[in-house]
Amino acid sequence: MPKTIAEINEKIKKGEAVVVTAEEIIDLTEKKGIKKAAREVDVVTTGTFGPMCSSGIYFNFGHSKPRIKAQRVWLNNVPAYAGLAAVDIYLGATELREDDPANTVYPGAFSYGGGHVIEDLVRGKSIRLRVVAYGTDCYPRKELETLINIHDLNEAVLFNPRNVYQNYNVAVNLSNKIIYTYMGILQPKLGNATYCSAGQLSPLLNDPYYKTTGVGTRIFLGGGVGYVVWQGTQHNPCVVRTDKGLPKYPAATLAVLGDLKGMSPKWLRGVSMTGYGVSLAIGIGVPIPILNEEILSYTTVRDEEIYAQVVDYSKDYPEGRAKSLGEVNYGQLRSGKITIAHKEIPTSGLSSYARAREIAQLLKEWIIQGRFLLSEPVQPIPGPESSIKPKLLKEKG
């Protein structure tokens, strides 16, 4: 008999809910069969931890005396966006320090940027805030420099326009020289391959058609509680899928939001990609309510069933050519070796499987302890029926 989210929440409140992780459900279903597993299990928890660009925070730092209407703002010398209101600012994860030499000394180290400011803030460190303004009758002040701390801020919110990619490319380098990419360091002539997904633990690979994950879904975000607030940018649900419905290309994405003050630096880490730039690694976990057998069967997905495309990042990717050198599955990727063009290549992740597992486990404990209730999505995110097509930029004028 199908369950409802309200019924599952009742069980959570009574301490009777059966919660397992996306790894544990695989063996459990193999033993008990889909029918019995679907009846017994109430929630399957997923997790992912890796660099997620298109992330950032907004906050309100409070009015000074006399007042200032921020025009340009820096946090530990990293520029933030002040074009929102007088003292509301948005800091993006990939923003570089004002004086960063970037790639002038190639490959740049990018040792500190937006992602690191976010980590430092959550760690409770004081951050140097510098503000300049043009001055108005109501906001006369033109300059301000002070130390701020997360506890002093009025609101501090993590708001990420694109996270939790449903699958991603595997990156390799066909050229003769080492390259530095957002997929890490790629050794020449297929010297290594990098991937970035938690595979069988990954949230949207356990809910491939977004049957339970939608706008309003409550999630584990950065060690605290957050919500899915929209589909993410570059959301692309209409890619080719396997028989089981698993996208074989980068597909859906989620926009997520949550109170930064409740988060932890373990799950929000500044990232320095040599030769590329900075970013933020984020821990996210999505609970999947087992409402029926179909939803359960999706959560039994294994690494060996999830395929990704191997893409050359020396020429094909930079030139915008969508060419795949072959398909590999996450079982192979996670074993440490894949074979491409008859060559055995060592693999590296960027997304941490160990941390993904820890998140799924943590979220499971939160639910079992009754600290985390499931929410009813208020609107689905567009699926394969939406016929969304990614648009390329047409340069004109």
């Binding site: 040792s111 970013s279 690694a281 590296s348």
Partner: protein
């Protein structure tokens, strides 16, 4: 026969300009009965030399050799923690794994935890730029 156990010590030698041309390693082998394993060598534009070596020999010979080097004006830093893996900064992402040539950084494929074995590390420093989380430090 001398039963004193053989010890190993990794050190970084910084040579001032004037000593660069001296046959120092020759003396270490011949006069102090040491085995030398050169792990890394570098001569900077201003002709200051850096040498990362592993000395194996009897403790008292190593001690004497170090005095000899110091007398020549060579500065010495221990290299016990030459490459340092900061476990609490490591996220076990495995980005370093396909870069490390020696297997010093490796993954337990079941748990997917990364660990570091300093015995296997050849101090190539390739892992430093590969780690997005600054979890590996070089002490030179």
């Amino acid at each position: 026969m001398d039963q004193t156990p053989i010890q190993k010590r990794r050190i970084v030698l910084t040579f001032p300009k004037e000593t660069v041309n001296q046959p120092i390693t020759y003396h270490l082998v011949k006069d102090y009965d040491l085995m030398i394993n050169i792990l890394r060598a570098k001569v900077s534009p201003e002709e200051e030399g850096k040498l990362v070596i592993e000395l194996s020999g009897r403790a008292r010979d190593i001690k004497k050799a170090i005095t000899y080097l110091k007398d020549l004006g060579v500065s010495i830093q221990p290299l016990a923690q030459d490459i340092k893996w900061l476990e609490d900064r490591c996220t076990h992402c495995t980005a370093c794994i396909s870069i490390c040539p020696s297997g010093a950084l490796s993954v337990d494929r079941k748990e997917m935890f990364v660990s570091f074995d300093s015995e296997k590390c050849i101090l190539c420093t390739l892992c430093i730029p590969a780690c997005p989380f600054k979890a590996i430090e070089i002490l030179l």
